[in-house]
Symmetry: C2
Subunit: 285 residues, 2 copies
């Protein structure tokens, strides 16, 4: 099997390393020539993913940003052939899937939207590892859920990468949910850490909740700006809900209204119970 | 050594169990007669902490709410003698310390404010354990930091309970910091879980950040209402900062202002670096 990996950062580097460990032939590309040369020397790819090799790949993984992925498809779709499966790894799915499905229809290759639920706030090839996806989930967006042979093949390939669970979703569902389960925690954590109290706080005067709330405050601002802007409708929806909720607590506290505050807290507690019980979702079912 | 424990929930139960394991004589009390009888039968206390035994204790731990602790001091200070050290375990410190220091001066015993940085969202005696405080931190508030013999004795006793680090603070500093490091994460987590998206979210479409943000949403609304109301000035201060920050992100996203959003995210990222580097605080130093 021949695999192409575009973008040799944390995700792309980890894909390349894992497939090499499994003995696949791996071609890699990175727009940063220094990185590409380094990875060639380190032996984590067999060769550079040049134009002539693009058409020979069984799989091509786009491990670059949504906008870069779109640019790549516009430039390289003409070099792909009908047996190639292109999977992107972007954190939002609507925009890239629209482009990918269009180009796939036009040039006769297969495009599948993908979002590996794995990462590390320390990005880059130097932090990549063949084990990164071990036990993780992968979301897939198919144009149509009809070609079961393809679906099974892709599932097998992703399991070889280490993924434990493959979740099939629509791009719309994915973006709606990811705004809440991932983008919001990153945004709120990044905002939370700005209180000046953070600088006078002895970490010893804190429980695990402080550690939890500040863990993902450190993030790549370029990547997340792009992801947030691409999902602005869903993100704004969630932000409005949270800000409104926080204002309700704030009012109760300011007014010294214990009954109201207790009701708000009980409501959240009950919701948490409900989420634990039923919140495994309907997605992909 | 004789130890009295008032309130046999998670904290008090764990104190009683640990001291019993160490062979101390432990007297316990709980306003819930069923709990008290159960703990007497289970052998985790030697006997009930009756009025006549209060004066015989070397240490008395108040493991009840701030208001209950104040009531206890008002009723029982007259039974205490000059060698008894009373330590409360409340999550806020200003109100209880004011009362404790006054009563101690009036009746001639020693009061020290305490906040064990340990817990579990599953409360109650049934979840208590002699190991609960192993490796945890304990904040102490002394009326004056002059009696070094006392400070060393208390430190030794708390280390026997399992505490690794004793942090000496003022009640004001403690309440300011705890609003940010503990109360805010609990409040925000409790509010965060209310989005309806929580109910349709497949937990597989989420990274660790979702788990982090919803972990402490489940809380005892009675206890936290009391703690929040007692610390309303500090909590409102932090809530205002967070709500204002979230509104800044919201405006940037709504306006599609990528430069502004990137600046906000970079600001949070840099603050996180600063916190990791310098945020060990000045407290108690």
């Amino acid at each position: 099997m021949k695999v192409g990996v575009v973008g040799l950062g944390l995700i792309g580097g980890s894909i390349a390393k894992r497939f090499r460990e499994l003995g696949k032939e791996v071609f890699g590309f990175d727009s940063d020539r220094t990185i590409l040369d380094f990875v060639k020397l380190s032996g984590d790819i067999d060769d550079e993913l040049t134009d002539d090799k693009i058409g020979k790949c069984d799989y091509i993984f786009l491990a670059i940003s949504p906008d870069e992925s779109i640019d790549w498809l516009r430039e390289n779709s003409k070099n792909l052939n009908s047996k190639t499966v292109v999977i992107d790894c972007c954190g939002t799915k609507r925009k890239i899937c629209k482009e990918g499905f269009e180009k796939a229809a036009q040039y006769g290759f297969t495009f599948i939207g993908g979002h590996p639920m794995a990462g590390n706030h320390k990005g880059g090839f130097k932090n990549s590892s063949g084990d990164l996806f071990k036990g993780a989930s992968m979301v897939l967006v198919f144009k149509e859920r009809k070609d079961f042979k393809l679906m099974v093949e892709v599932k097998t390939t992703l399991e070889e990468l280490g993924f434990l669970k493959i979740i099939v979703s629509s791009a719309e569902e994915h973006d709606e949910i990811i705004a809440y389960t991932s983008q919001m925690p990153h945004l709120v954590s990044n905002a939370f850490v700005k209180s000046k109290t953070a600088l006078i706080s002895d970490r010893l005067i804190s429980g695990g909740s402080f550690r939890d709330f500040t863990r993902v405050a450190y993030l790549d601002e370029d990547m997340w700006t792009e992801l947030f802007m691409e999902n602005k409708d869903n993100l704004k929806y969630e932000l409005d809900i949270l800000i409104e909720e926080l204002n309700r607590y704030r009012s109760a506290i300011e007014a010294g209204d214990e009954t109201n505050l207790r009701d708000l807290l009980a409501e959240g507690k009950n919701r948490k119970v409900e989420v634990e019980k039923y919140g495994t979702g309907t997605l992909g079912k």
